[in-house]
Amino acid sequence: MKVELEADKCVASGQCVVAAMDVFDQDDDGIAILLTEQIGDDQLDDVKEAVAVCPAAAIRLVQA
């Protein structure tokens, strides 16, 4: 699976970082950044959690 992030929608809640620390980080202003686009099966649950808790609906999971 592939992760897509629309950084201009991000409101810097940091929830994606808490949910999936290997996949998301934040820049100096707290705006989310993607550490990797391709994710493995072992990261899928964490990324699904990140999608669910993102208050700005800025994260999507798509078929790679």
């Binding site: 409101v11 940091g14 970082v17 808490v18 934040q26 700005a56």
Partner: protein, 410 residues
């Protein structure tokens, strides 16, 4: 358990129920029975407010998130149909960006997001641990019982915000005295006004000083925006004041409500007290955020274009209220929602709201609560209420729900 503080919320299907509604007298941790009833009836209901207006109340989790995530639902209190909380709120000045819509809301909010990034908040954890340990040392050194609000719950956010803003240690006492007056419900409007003016003047002075002598703190970040011409001095002070107020009573009330709720659920308290697993402590924080509620008057919006929610069209100019405490008790999302269970996965709760206005300080609030809940009951394992729960005064009438005074002993 259905006995209410001030009679039934409404008397028939034809009447629009009044909001806010009273809680059941012996269930201070549960939503008002009338709200649960509305939730069972459907995702939307009309309610009547203090001024006779009849906005929509959104009762369920999915629909609450949908409205809070919709840009056509405005947070601007001047929009037609905005459901105001009380006469005082109508005509009051706007408290910086929380009462604005994008793009101006996003422009201002992004100026202060940096210190709330997860890494920056984690870097503050040792300082918060020192503050919490110091306050517990002081409590244990003196005689009990003490009021946990005054001795512990209020000083924590106050000292943490000093740390975050960069208030020099010598000014802490002045800062704490004034913030305490600002949030004390028994303070007169004059006392509160004077305290607010003194703090605002102080913050303006600190921001001005950082224009020429910047440090590595939040006030310097705000001063930088003034220097760059992105904020006026007035906007900068208002923003600093918002950050100060927003993190104060909210955190303090979660500390006291959480403690009172845990003392009423000794099995859950024992789990938390006996663990050294930070994951269980973090899970307890999420569950207490889900189970309890401090924003009991709901998150409020005015609809600026017709939107359809659960098959119902909400017209432009109508108001909408999302009471997140019943969203967090939605049985569709949380199994057995009225049970406090610190081992459940409660991370999807909407205690911090949802959408672009979701609480900016939530990483800080979570970390503070993790330190508090992870420390207080371990260090004082015999902590108990020093009065009956029925005698604890809950803040039924305040903007933020919580506890006025919580006498504890050990």
């Amino acid at each position: 358990m259905a006995e209410t503080v001030a009679g039934p919320a409404h008397d028939g299907a034809d009447t629009v129920p009044e909001f806010p509604m009273p809680r059941a007298s012996r269930c201070p941790f549960d939503p008002p029975p009338g709200l649960k009833e509305l939730q069972e009836q459907g995702p939307l209901a009309k309610v009547r407010l203090w001024d006779g207006s009849e906005p929509w109340l959104v009762t369920r989790y999915a629909e609450q998130r949908a409205v809070l995530g919709d840009p056509r639902a405005s947070a601007d209190t001047d929009q037609p149909g905005y459901p105001t909380k009380a006469s005082a709120e109508a005509g009051e000045g706007k408290l910086s960006f929380i009462m604005m819509d994008d793009p101006e809301h996003a422009r201002l909010r992004r100026m202060v997001t940096a210190p709330f990034a997860i890494r920056k908040v984690e870097a503050l954890r040792p300082a918060v641990q020192r503050i919490v340990d110091g306050l517990i040392d002081d409590m244990l050194a003196g005689p009990g019982p003490v009021d946990l609000v005054e001795a512990f719950a209020l000083p924590i956010p106050s000292l943490v915000i000093c740390e975050l803003l960069g208030v020099p240690y010598d000014d802490h006492a002045m800062f704490q005295d004034n913030t305490r007056t600002m949030v004390r419900t028994t303070a007169t409007p004059e006392e509160r006004g004077a305290a607010t003016r003194e703090i605002a003047g102080y913050l303006a002075g600190q921001i001005a000083r950082r224009l020429t002598d910047p440090k590595d703190d939040l006030l310097s970040g705000i001063a930088g925006r003034v220097a760059a011409g992105e904020l006026t001095h007035g906007q900068a002070t208002e923003m600093a004041l918002l950050l100060l107020i927003a993190g104060h009573e909210t955190t303090a009330n979660m500390i006291t409500l959480g403690t009172a709720a845990l003392l009423e659920h000794p099995d859950q308290l024992a789990l938390l007290r006996d663990t050294d697993d930070p994951k269980l402590v973090a899970s307890a924080v999420e569950e207490l955020l889900r189970y309890l509620h401090i924003t009991h008057l709901g998150r409020r919006r005015a609809v600026t274009e017709d939107i359809e929610i659960a098959g119902q069209v909400i017209r432009a100019g109508e108001g909408v209220i999302m009471v997140n405490e019943i969203g967090n008790r939605d049985p569709e999302v949380f199994e057995d929602p009225d049970r406090l269970d610190i081992t459940r996965d409660a991370r999807r709760h909407v205690a911090f709201g949802f959408g672009v206005h979701q609480c900016l300080g939530q990483p800080l609030a979570r970390m503070e609560l993790q330190v508090v809940y992870g420390t207080l009951y371990r260090r004082i394992p015999t902590l108990r209420l020093a009065c009956a729960l029925e005698d604890v005064k809950f803040k039924h009438d305040a903007f933020i729900y919580g506890i006025h005074e919580l006498p504890v002993a050990w």
